[in-house]
């Protein structure tokens, strides 16, 4: 084997940026990002639920893409920009959050952080999504209580808001 094959040792120091802040986190290379943000960084807006990538409650942005933090291992986050729901509201409430409030896009609220992160990723990439594109973008987020009507209206309102401000 050449000298170039490197390994991530245990313990492992994950260096990344979380909500814009540089972090060095002592963990293991295969630790889940979900565990890191909730238990190591106390960013509990990211929710723990199915833990197999189905429900979307644990969604975060990695370099701007929505990703399930329960499926993501620490070594996959090295040098990446990670944004949690807390990172969206650093300078006041994000317009997407406002749209969810105004349209009643939540009931118990447990899925809401993940929903908002997915909508953020969608609108940053595609400010004027079609219904099919909204449906596909949110296909990994499950809500068990609102019935989706309010969520759908919130996405439409957030998109409309962006169009008016650009």
């Amino acid at each position: 084997m050449s000298e170039e094959a490197v390994k991530s040792e245990t313990p492992y120091v994950l260096r990344c940026f979380v909500n814009g802040k540089e972090e060095s986190i002592h963990t293991t290379p295969a630790a889940r990002l979900l565990t890191i943000v909730r238990d190591e960084l106390s960013l509990t807006g990211t929710k723990r639920s199915c833990e197999i990538g189905r429900c979307g409650a644990c969604m975060v942005l990695i370099d701007g893409n929505a990703v399930n933090s329960c499926l993501t291992m620490a070594y996959q986050c090295s040098e990446k920009q990670i944004t949690t729901i807390e990172g969206l509201a650093v300078q006041g409430m994000d317009p997407i959050q406002q749209a969810f409030l105004e349209e009643g896009g939540f009931q118990c609220g447990y899925c809401t952080p993940g929903m908002i992160i997915s909508v953020k990723a969608l609108l940053d990439e595609n400010p004027d999504p079609t219904d099919d594109e909204i449906s596909e973008a949110l296909s990994g987020n499950i809500c068990r209580c609102t019935g989706y009507g309010g969520i759908w209206r919130a996405v439409k309102r957030a998109a409309e808001g962006r169009r008016q401000t650009t």
Binding site: A5, T10, D39, V67, E136
Partner: protein, 314 residues
């Protein structure tokens, strides 16, 4: 809250090889205690559900150079195995020339999972939902055996790779999708230039699951071919899979119906032969008989629609 049970166990070492040869050597060194990983989404769900144990060594294939993009090669579109499913999904070359692969990928999980998961991982699992569509385009795989890179038809590679022992010896690098020959070339091949305007390509990919979206497949079905104006099949590929079934081409049936006209008699024959030839694995949710009839209905319906001119030309 602390770590879950799996995380509380010893965490694996993660190796980051730069070349296929290094990855191969690591696999030889650690044997069953080392596992190739790319996006890791399937592995992660297997660990969480207790289907498999966390290995002592993860061999991260994402660091191998040159495997994370799509490019036009001499023989077709080369799709690097480490390309994320979402990058494949949004790639215009793939959607323009191989729309059924693009559609198959759209039905895999959700964008958030597809950002992590790779096309190579989907194929290497031997049961991924992109495979039937890749078979529909007669895809090849490029794999490393420890010494050289090899090119093999995906349809021939799958049975070997899905056998656990053999699978460990084959490192999947890329997929190769040959561009379909144009209908003009087809007509010359048949020495009948008048056919050019009279033939049409047809194709369809379907995934049937237990829910409408974000669902494991029960059946995947892909059909790709050429019909004359009077509904004679000039070329056809039929691929079926779904669930834990390793997808297959029904080449016997393809030969039987190549050159035949699509009519009621032929459709009955196709239905009956799919029931005979397709051997899906059943589980607690869907029997083999249900999967057979679902697959047969999908293919027959699409063949009928193609003959009636109700499918979009590819």
């Amino acid at each position: 809250m602390g770590m879950n049970i799996q995380e509380a166990m010893a965490s694996p070492l993660v190796w980051h090889p730069q070349t296929a040869a290094e990855a191969w050597q690591l696999k030889q060194t650690y044997g069953t205690e080392g596992i190739y990983t790319s996006g890791g989404t399937l592995l992660r769900t297997q660990w969480e559900s207790g289907i498999s144990a966390i290995p002592r060594h993860l061999i991260d294939l994402s660091t191998i150079r040159g495997l994370n993009d799509l490019r036009i090669g001499e023989a077709g579109l080369v799709v690097g195995g480490q390309t994320s499913l979402q990058s494949c999904r949004s790639n215009t070359l793939l959607s323009r020339h191989f729309p059924m692969v693009s559609e198959a990928i759209r039905t895999i999980a959700a964008p958030s999972v597809r950002h992590l998961a790779t096309i190579g991982g989907n194929v290497a699992s031997s049961i991924g939902d992109s495979i039937a569509a890749l078979l529909g385009y007669d895809a090849e795989v490029i794999w490393f055996d420890g010494t050289t890179e090899n090119r093999t038809l995906l349809s021939e590679w799958l049975p070997e790779a899905s056998a656990a022992k053999r699978g460990n010896e084959r490192l999947l690098l890329s997929m190769l999708l040959p561009f379909e020959i144009s209908l003009e070339e087809t007509s010359v091949k048949h020495d009948d230039k008048d056919l050019t305007m009279q033939m049409k390509r047809f194709g369809a990919y379907h995934k049937i699951g237990r829910r409408e979206a974000f669902t494991p497949s029960v059946v995947t079905a892909c059909m790709n071919g050429v019909l004359t104006h009077n509904s004679v099949i000039k070329q056809i590929r039929i691929a079926l899979g779904g669930g834990q079934t390793v997808p297959v081409r029904l080449e016997k049936l393809e030969k039987e119906i190549n050159g035949a006209a699509v009519d009621g008699h032929l459709l009955r024959h196709v239905y009956e032969r799919i029931i005979e030839l397709f051997e899906p694995r059943e589980d607690l949710f869907a029997s083999a008989a249900y999967r057979k009839s679902t697959a047969a209905n999908l293919i027959v319906a699409e063949l009928w629609k193609a003959a009636k001119g109700e499918t979009k030309p590819l």
